[in-house]
Amino acid sequence: MKPLLTLSLLLLLAGCSSLGVKPWERDLLAQSDMQLVSDPIEASLDDHVYFSKEGSSGGRGFGGGGCGCN
């Protein structure tokens, strides 16, 4: 698992160098709607519901602790 992960990370980084935009092409990406988590409050409310009701948590961010609901 570990070597596979390292290899995929390296490939990803190597492949990434040809991707991207120039600084003046960031107009769309700068919009609040285009942030990876565009509404942190909605994300935290969802995380709390799913943390309480399912056996999984985290992935996008931290997955542990903070609640006696599971």
């Binding site: 992960l5 990370l9 990803l12 980084l13 990434c16 160098s17 991707l19 991207g20 935009v21 120039k22 600084p23 092409e25 960031r26 107009d27 769309l28 990406l29 919009q31 609040s32 709607d33 285009m34 990876l36 509404d39 942190p40 409050i41 909605e42 935290s44 409310l45 709390h48 519901v49 799913y50 009701k53 399912e54 056996g55 999984s56 948590s57 985290g58 992935g59 996008r60 961010g61 931290f62 997955g63 542990g64 602790g65 903070g66 609640c67 006696g68 609901c69 599971n70």
Partner: protein, 434 residues
């Protein structure tokens, strides 16, 4: 969670109280300075109303966030969350043909469930307050860091957390590598004390009830520590697309058991109920997850977002989560349909009930908590937002969440999905950003 009967708190009241405090603080400043200071702040507030079918859990959760910007990349975020839960929650026992009587977790009282009904502990009650502070700032041109503290308290649960992260930008900030870590120290002090794992639940009305109950307890508090580590890569693909890939690891060490959950004991599958045991989970858990997310802005300005998570742990549980959102933007409004699909396979220690023969083999871990069983779940939601300006918005979201257990295929303890807890919940959120 607690098992007392107090007045449900009103999250909305708390939100307005906080807004009043914020205004009072600013009121102390001269008008011009107050206006200047106010421009450096962003505020978010939302209230979620969560209602489960069949009079199960109802919850109100209110969140207020305030962010002070010191420059374009340096900020301090403060967040206060308050939630209140009431209603009934499955206690882990199986539905039986006969009425079932359970001792309350406190040992002071009982409740009876009719034959053919799913056993629910109907005095479920909980109020939780969380405060969090997060500082984020750049470190030179190519680095940034963030650090935060979090504290939450419920009647029977407290958690203290500290987190830190560091990011490195590459390729004209088109690629970002992030390492983040969180340490959480949690303490549980259950109603009636900490049950001895797999001990017999004292039978209400039995002449030896007091001593049986005392023998099923082991102190009043238990701890666990959770260490999280997330490695993430964010990549801008082109002017309209960005992508994130995370690998995360979460190690939880200490008391993982739900002190209020039971396991029914039968002489054999389809046989006669013999009694109940408290559940017991292993005292450490290592979870790993890979998470991928992408966001794309179409030429018509609509935004499509998709994510996938694969999670697995050393309890034998694994899960797949797929999340899709489509934000249809028109003028200063938007409409966003959302869909989420989740499939979980059970932890090794999960079984819907236990047989006396299995107990004779002295198992180390056992749980009938449906949240560690085999189930599928989906969420369908619709969010609507109205924007006054770029950073002033009101929105609402209505979502339906449905959990569907799958049949337990086992030679020893088979169960039909119809006998396991299924659930539908409605979630309504109203929020504002300004």
């Amino acid at each position: 969670m607690t098992h007392t009967n107090t007045r449900p708190a009103q999250g909305a009241e708390l939100a307005s109280m906080l807004a009043a405090i914020g205004c009072a603080v600013l009121y102390g400043l001269p008008n011009q300075a107050a206006a200047g200071e106010l421009e450096k702040w962003d505020f978010d507030a939302a209230v979620l109303q969560y209602v489960e079918s069949d009079n199960r859990v109802q919850a109100t959760e209110a969140v207020v966030g305030a962010t002070r910007h010191f420059d374009t990349e340096t900020s301090l975020n403060l967040k206060l969350t308050f939630d209140s839960l009431t209603g009934a929650s499955p206690n882990g026992a199986m539905t039986d043909d006969q009425p079932q009587t359970f001792t309350r977790p406190s040992g002071r009282g009982r409740y009876t469930v009719a034959g053919g009904e799913l056993p629910l502990d109907d005095t479920f009650h909980d109020e939780r307050t969380t405060v969090a502070a997060q500082w984020s700032a750049p470190l030179g041109r190519d680095w940034s860091y963030s650090g935060g503290l979090q504290y939450s308290a419920e009647h029977d649960y407290q958690s203290r957390g500290v987190n830190a992260s560091i990011s490195r930008f590459f390729n004209q900030k088109n690629t970002t590598l992030t390492v983040a870590s969180n340490l959480s120290l949690d303490t549980v002090n259950p109603e009636g004390g900490v049950p001895v794992g797999l001990s017999e639940v004292a039978e209400w009305g039995s002449p030896t009830f007091s001593s049986d109950f005392a023998n099923s307890r082991d102190g009043s508090t238990a701890d666990k520590q959770i260490l999280d580590l997330v490695l993430g890569v964010t990549q801008i693909i082109d002017r309209r697309t960005l992508m994130q890939f995370n690998y995360s690891l979460s190690l939880s060490d200490g008391y993982q058991t739900d002190p209020y959950k039971l396991v029914s004991v039968y002489d054999q599958a389809g046989g006669t109920l013999q009694g109940y045991r408290y559940e017991a989970r292993p005292d450490s858990r290592l979870k790993q997850a890979v998470f991928w997310q992408t966001k794309y802005q179409a030429p018509n300005d609509d935004i499509i977002e998709g994510s996938y998570r694969y999670l697995f742990d050393d309890w034998g549980l694994d899960s797949h989560t797929l999340d899709l959102k489509y934000r249809w933007r028109f003028a200063n409004q938007y409409l966003e349909p959302q869909a989420r699909w989740y499939r979980q396979s059970a932890a090794d220690a999960y079984q819907p009930y236990v047989t006396t023969a299995q107990l004779a083999e002295d198992p180390q871990a056992l749980t009938a908590d449906y949240r560690l069983g085999d189930f599928d779940a989906w969420t369908l939601g619709l969010r609507y937002g109205y924007r006054f300006t770029d950073d002033r918005e009101v929105y609402t979201r209505l979502a339906v969440y449905r959990q569907m257990p799958r049949d337990v295929e086992s030679d020893v303890t088979p169960a039909d999905a119809a006998d396991l807890p299924d659930m539908t919940a409605l979630m309504l959120t109203v929020g504002v950003s300004f």
